[in-house]
């Protein structure tokens, strides 16, 4: 479904990504782990189009989408749930969700999408008229996830959904992600620092270190591989 070949990204002269190639197949759950600053977030931004590729090519459903701007990639069915939630703080919960279905393919099915998301996150249903900026971190994460699902995406990009959340909430978020994946047969690309939780959820994983893919493999192989730890701690 998604094929990235030879992707490089540079910010202000810094090489954030260098020659990254990876694939995500239809219906697959792929995880990218790696330490801080490895370029995980940049990779997702390059896929959703908010950073430009300096070199390389991105294909979505065998179509070259490298030149497309972010909003056109979203229209193709790629939903990005960004790092730090990035909900629209001055809009209500309901308005945030409605904007999730802004792309025309999702707009037609807004009502059913909304019902499904609110069923998935009852906490949001109770706060639908509240401003998103007034929600707690965990609720904002649910809202960001819900907003992503409202797009009825073909590919869901999740960036650090556990960041800055209490362990109990993290557990809940991961459980929900697992459930979404089982129920909707969604294709998911997850970026996460929590190695075990993320790898247990996925089919395959990649390990990113200083802008390069250093390891790749099935989830159980990576879970057993001590080299993953080396990517984080050097030992």
């Amino acid at each position: 479904m998604l094929r990235i070949s030879g992707l490089s990204v540079a910010y202000a002269g810094l090489h954030a990504l260098e020659d990254v190639s990876l694939e995500v197949n239809e219906g697959e759950f792929v995880t990218i782990v790696g330490p801080n600053g490895a370029g995980k977030t940049t990779l997702l931004k390059a896929i959703s189009g908010s950073v430009r590729a300096a070199a390389g090519r991105l294909d979505f459903r065998s179509r070259d989408m490298t030149p497309l701007p972010a909003h056109e990639r979203a229209a193709l069915g790629i939903a990005h749930v960004p790092e730090g939630r990035r909900v629209f703080p001055s809009l209500t919960v309901l308005e945030n969700l409605e904007l999730g279905s802004y792309r025309s393919a999702a707009r037609e099915r807004r009502a059913e999408g909304l019902a499904a998301v609110l069923a998935l996150f009852p906490a949001l249903a109770a706060r639908r008229r509240q401003l998103a900026g007034s929600l707690s971190g965990g609720e904002q994460q649910m809202l960001a996830l819900g907003r992503g699902l409202m797009a009825a995406p073909d590919l869901l990009l999740l960036d650090e959904p556990s960041q800055g959340l209490a362990p109990r909430i993290v557990e809940q978020i991961f459980e929900t992600i697992g459930r979404i994946r089982r129920e909707r047969r969604l294709t998911v690309l997850l970026v996460e620092q929590r190695v075990v939780e993320a790898l247990e959820l996925c089919d395959r994983g990649y390990v990113l270190e200083t802008g390069r893919v250093v390891l790749a493999g099935a989830h159980d192989a990576l879970l057993a591989d001590p080299r993953v730890q080396r990517a984080y701690l050097g030992v």
Partner: protein, 593 residues
């Protein structure tokens, strides 16, 4: 010839050309245009001091122009005081007004400053109307015209305006070369970074504002005698005054001596000639030309003609060498890691929260003299917040920081820097129009001194990081590594005893990491204590003597690098408790026969 020499020669050249034109031109109308060119160039240079060098865009600079005009003319009309003295009084009043206006207004940042400055000339204008000074004519003094600046020979006004232009050029040149000038350009680029380099931003801005008010007031005084004869609020406090000022600066280029001169030399004759030829049939043609000039310049050359042309020339002749990194360094003999130095920095129970989010909780550690201390931690651990607390950007809610035994908690950043704590930033902020050497000089002025002494300190710092050969180039063409080295040199030039380095290795190639690490070690050998934040732990393990691990704002571990990276709590923080559990059992399984 040095760049310094060249700019004085340039000023001499402008004065010589000005003099020659004043002598050659005999037609009254052309003489008037020449006067206007000189006056608007001077006014532009005045604005350039605060808005060009310091980057504080003032939309109300005509306030000082008008004060100069009104004070001079009122003193002559009401008290019979000669305008030669009157304009000095006008300049003095303008400086006082600048200090009064600046004190509250410089507390506002960015766009708010510009919007606030809009209000002052409007208020002056309304007040002048109200006081009955809608029209103040210059009193005719037939018997002593020269004493009352009433020359019959228009050439005299050319020379007077040229003298003001020359004085403003000299003033601007002196500012450029002084500590103030370097500080202002640092503030423009990044006020936070400037503070961290020991710049007292508020005082520098006030000084620049006051210095820019004086020539503006003199320009207003001369303008009313040479051109107006009758001073009205609209003519001296009106929009057209600031528009002409902005036009000459922005068209020519801001932040340089030459921009306003170039802008005035082009725009003033064009608009005057249009006004006199078609102005009768098309009232407002001047405004259309100025407006169109502003639009065109913003769309196609927002940096102004001087920089556009200058940059084109610079890139054509740029040395090919900029692509490579600093010269290879012989690896210095590594002394045994110092872990027994005296404690120089004590961090005690520091806590800091933002909007209810606890960024640092009860963080305590020591930094010892001569060591390299690494601070690591996963995303959101509070590393940069810690630096911001240490160098005075943020005030902690609780806790204390002691530097060489004295508390420095709550000290403002420029004072922390002057006590000997330097810092660098994650993203290098350089000053694109200054050379590498001049960039480093901003830091070298931290402890005052003459420009010559600062130059020497800056050269020394560049040599220490192996960047001496790049001293004369502008930083735009440098590699990331060279930029980082330049920033390190700028920090070292503040003569610190301790440096706080924020991710100096991020995004560097393997070779780059080697070079940067060597430079950091070399700094330590010269007696500088180093604290580094990094997330690339592998590199840090090689250069740090000790590591402090932060996680979710708390100190998780502290110790020798080898021990810390094997510490279960650290592994848990980075890879999660379940990774630890899994691999601990895996290890245990390996041990079984």
């Amino acid at each position: 010839m040095t760049a310094r020499g060249r700019s004085w020669l340039g000023i001499a050249g402008i004065i010589a050309i000005g003099l020659a034109l004043s002598l050659v031109i005999t037609e009254r109308y052309h003489q008037r245009i020449l006067t206007l060119v000189f006056l608007w160039a001077a006014m532009g240079l005045a604005w350039n001091i605060i808005s060009g060098y310091a980057g504080q865009i003032s939309f109300g600079h005509q306030a000082f122009f008008g004060i100069g005009a009104y004070v001079t003319v009122l003193l002559a009309a009401k008290l019979g005081i000669t305008p030669w003295l009157g304009m000095l009084a006008g300049a003095l009043v303008a400086v006082l007004a600048a200090l009064l206006i600046g004190t509250p207004t410089f507390r506002l940042a960015g766009i708010y400053f510009g919007l606030a400055t809009l209000a002052y000339p409007l208020i002056f204008r309304i007040v002048m109307d109200y006081l009955g000074y809608q029209e103040v004519a210059i009193p005719m003094v037939r018997d002593r015209p020269a004493l009352f600046m009433q020359f019959t020979e228009p050439r005299s006004f050319d020379l007077l305006a040229l003298a003001l232009l020359a004085a403003t050029l000299v003033l601007s040149r002196l500012i450029e070369g002084s500590r103030l000038g370097y500080s202002l350009r640092a503030i423009k680029e990044n006020e936070q970074a400037a503070l961290a380099m020991g710049v007292d931003a508020f005082r520098c801005k006030m000084a620049a504002y006051a210095l820019s008010a004086a020539p503006a007031a003199l320009a207003g005084a001369i303008y009313s005698h040479a051109i107006l004869f009758v001073v009205t609020p609209e003519a001296v406090f009106g929009v057209l005054v600031i528009v002409q000022t902005l036009v000459v600066c922005l068209v020519g280029g801001v932040g340089t001596l030459w921009g306003p001169v170039i802008g005035a030399a082009i725009m003033i004759p064009v608009s005057e000639i249009l006004d006199s030829t078609v102005g009768d049939r098309l009232p407002g043609i001047q405004g259309v030309v100025y407006g169109a000039a502003l639009m065109v310049i913003m769309m196609f050359a927002p940096e102004g003609l001087f920089w556009r042309i200058g940059r084109g020339r610079a890139s054509a002749t740029a040395p090919a060498a900029v692509a490579t990194a600093a010269a290879p360094i012989e690896t210095d003999a590594e002394p045994a890691p110092t872990t027994k130095g005296a404690v120089v920095l004590e961090v005690r129970s520091v806590s800091k929260a933002f909007l209810g989010l606890q960024a640092l909780t009860d963080v305590t550690f020591d930094v010892r003299d001569g060591e390299i201390l690494g601070i690591i931690g996963p995303n959101g651990a509070g590393k940069t917040t810690l630096f911001n607390v240490l160098n005075g950007f943020l005030l902690p809610e609780r806790g204390e920081i002691r530097w060489q035994g004295e508390p420095i908690t709550g000290l403002s950043p420029h004072l922390v820097c002057r006590r000997g704590i330097g810092r660098t930033f994650q993203v290098v902020r350089f000053f694109p129009h200054l050379t590498v050497l001049e960039n480093v000089m901003v830091g070298a002025f931290a402890h005052g001194g003459t420009p010559a002494a600062a130059t020497a300190r800056a050269r020394d710092a560049l040599t220490r990081v192996g960047l001496a050969e790049r001293a004369a180039v502008t930083p735009s063409g440098l590699t990331t590594l060279d930029l980082r080295l330049m920033e390190l040199a700028r920090c070292l030039a503040t003569a610190p005893r301790l440096v706080l380095l924020d991710e100096p290795l991020a995004g560097l190639s393997a070779d780059g990491v080697e070079i940067m690490s060597a430079m950091i070690r070399r700094g330590r050998q010269a007696g500088v204590t180093v604290v580094i934040i990094e997330h690339t732990i592998q590199a840090l393990v090689k250069i740090a003597d000790r590591l402090v691990v932060l996680d979710q704002g708390r100190r998780l571990a502290e110790g020798l690098p080898g021990d810390v990276t094997r510490n279960p709590a650290v592994i848990e923080a980075y890879l999660g408790q379940r990774w630890l559990a899994r691999h601990a059992t895996a290890h245990a399984a390996d041990l079984r026969p």
